[in-house]
Symmetry: C2
Subunit: 440 residues, 2 copies
């Protein structure tokens, strides 16, 4: 193999090279100016400790094997590096052999960055496993209060005009662990991982409904899946004329089996299971259907003893993903606090971060583009002094909704309620750098 015409430098000694760890520079000082110190103040540059890595000859005279021998060939469908083989969904079957396939797998938010969730790591919530549907046999029926019942093959739907929606999907039961009396000592995936973000593409539901012809009295539609749980939810018809789509593609490729292949309903900002997977039937009606999936489950239990049904829209919420539960802050000094914010009501306009349990707040930087009902990545530099800290984030959306404290949330909901938990998460950083889940 012919080598580069630019020979690799082999004359650098270890002493010539400084290990890069955010040393003091103009850029670094600018970065620090907007950072969050232990008490919200800008820390001294001199206080930054170097990360203890070996400052050996950086390239070396001895090339690693991968720089001297040909690599592996192209592949028709790629997979992650074997060095990332632990970056997986956390699989939690709920009920064991009595109800096969029931349970969840959770997105490892603490090891991801950006806002798109790769399809292999999108969370799952199934009520009776993942059906293997032959798209040539699958059909979608629209009937009930329509002038002309319609049935669509998948091939037909693929001929319709498409739209794309980049949005989050979150299970109504996400973060339910934090509604329990004691804080679980678990990672971000286990507590908050029923949350993912994708670019979905499909057909506007309104286009299909107009073709069927909606009867004047219709106010709701039932969406029913073809899985053996026949998962079904009632949705207000107005959502179909807002932004609902019949999704066929996720992040470019056709939807995967565990996300509803060959098609699912997508109702941006609504409870996760309303985005009915393996969708086979939409029935228009004057009133909701009161299915098992919206009576025994997915209703909100309130503090006053009543229950709130058909409260679809998920609240404004945010979450620090790095650092987070069970991770370690490796050393004193400068770190980036990074996390996700989202709202079922629209765009995120502000995320504030506190390192002292909510006494002081500083506004984080939002990574653009900030899209409606989509995950928004926020970031803020943090100079850790080494003293114990309480990290929190608080999101505000364009409708003025502000993420509630634990106390404010608990004033509304019953202690038995496990849904719509959007309370502020507190991560405690101990003096040894360990991060734990605490209630404030």
């Amino acid at each position: 193999m012919k080598k580069s015409s630019v020979p690799v430098r082999t004359d650098l000694r270890a002493d010539d090279v400084v290990v890069g760890v955010m040393e003091a520079t103009r850029e670094r000082r600018q970065f620090l100016k907007r950072s969050l110190g232990a008490a919200g103040a800008v820390a001294a540059v001199a206080a930054v400790a170097a990360v203890p890595v070996r400052a050996a000859d950086p390239i070396g005279k001895d090339f690693p094997a991968w720089s001297t021998t040909p690599g592996t060939p192209m592949r028709s469908y790629g997979q992650p590096s074997k060095f990332e083989e632990k970056v997986l969904r956390t699989v939690t079957p709920s009920y064991g052999p009595i109800s096969p396939g029931t349970g969840t797998s959770r997105t490892p938010l603490q090891t991801l960055n950006g806002t798109i969730t790769p399809n292999g790591l999108h969370f799952e919530r199934h009520h009776n496993g993942v059906p293997e549907i032959d798209p040539a046999q699958h059909k979608l029926l629209i009937h009930g209060m329509v002038k002309k019942p319609l049935v669509f093959t998948v091939a037909n739907l693929l001929r319709y005009p498409m739209v794309s929606r980049t949005c989050f999907v979150e299970c109504a039961g996400n973060s339910s662990a934090n509604t329990l009396p004691k804080p679980a000592q678990a990672n971000c995936a286990a507590i908050h991982g029923l949350l993912s973000g994708s670019e979905w593409t499909g057909v506007s539901l309104s286009l299909l409904l107009d073709e069927a012809g909606v009867e004047p009295g219709a106010k709701w539609f039932l969406a029913e899946g073809a899985d053996s749980a026949a998962m079904s939810r009632s949705v207000l018809l107005e959502k179909a004329y807002d932004d609902a789509i019949i999704a066929l593609y996720q992040n470019g490729e056709r939807i995967r089996p565990e996300q509803g292949y060959p098609l699912r309903l997508l109702v941006p900002g609504y409870q996760g299971n309303m985005n009915v997977k393996w969708l086979r039937r939409l029935e228009l009606a004057a009133a909701p259907m009161h299915t098992k999936d919206e009576t025994s489950k997915y209703s909100l239990l309130l503090r006053d003893g009543t229950a709130r049904q058909f409260d679809f829209q998920l609240g404004v919420k945010s979450l620090i993903t790095q650092p987070s539960g069970t991770l370690n802050v490796p050393s004193k000094g400068l770190h980036e606090i990074s996390g996700l914010a989202w709202s079922g009501a629209g765009r995120i306009v502000k995320v504030e971060v506190s390192s002292d349990g909510g006494a002081n707040w500083r506004e984080a930087v939002l990574q653009g583009p900030v899209l409606s009902k989509a995950l928004t990545r926020f970031r803020l530099p943090w100079e850790w002094s080494g003293a114990p800290a309480m990290l929190q984030s608080r999101a505000t959306d364009e409708k003025g909704h502000v993420q509630p404290t634990r106390a404010a949330w608990s004033a509304i909901y019953s202690p038995a309620n496990r849904y719509h938990n959007n309370m502020i998460q507190t991560w405690a950083v101990a003096a040894d750098g360990s991060v734990s889940n605490v209630y404030l």
Copy 2:
């Protein structure tokens, strides 16, 4: 398994149900009003022929097996449906056993939708295969005309503040088949599939360079990969202070081996191979290095016999992906023309579509958000009369660049030039619906 409290309708007979194929409705007529007829005119609704599908009992009394038996369990890392197993990258080794791992694999653009390419289908172009790099041993060196040479471990880089950039990566040799004298009869992947779109996340290169301290005379930097081809390119330093990043994440997860794991340079809008994968070294200099990868290759041969080196920015371009070469338009009637547009110079502001080889044009709808140097999906309804048609798309970017015709492009470049082909693509639709690649 408990069944839904809403029983599935089994009383629908075939005669009750109309197969949905864009029948005449108000919505459909609105849709048609902005459609592209055979001569740019609005076609009559009555002319739409139904897609011949069997109007059988849509749900049926006999449920398919997947609706009556539990499905498969959750998985820790998901994969596409087995029914999509043919949606793969087109792998083309260039030189066989002489240079293992050299060649390309191409994104199947004709089967995808939206703007994100799933990581498993992002195109590949390697010069000596895919190295399997241990991130614990990999280092990035910044040296040359800097005040203080620096070396970064991957663990250190992961501590730095991150930014995300949603952008396209396109090989400089993409679409080179269409620079040959005769049009290849091949699909969209084979001709144009060295193009993909992702959300990349990493560290601003300017932050690292400021830490090293750039010497006054430095104007360029060399970027070198750790693969056994030591792929290396010279980049103008100003790009580092514009939007270049050291990318560590792609679509949320860590970059995959074939995309440069553990890290790559990302220079949005520049020739694909300048986004140096497996990046191990950045050397600042007063002048470009003239490596093998920018002298023997990746220079542009011009009509006047000269060559243009270091022309980095990719031109404004668009492409109809559906319908496209080797596909079939299944019937007369309404279809959606869909495709991708992009520019190395910034945002796409307009895409026009012609069905008569460029005589008449109609403006397509751009799917938002339209981002700088990112893939933009365009869509336009098309009423196909059944007569032969010549489909073209023409993109304009925010700098006023307009995608050139084949003739305009060929007036600039040598017949031997294989790079930077951004000429308008023509897909010919024959009376039988078959689609072929033609030169106009």
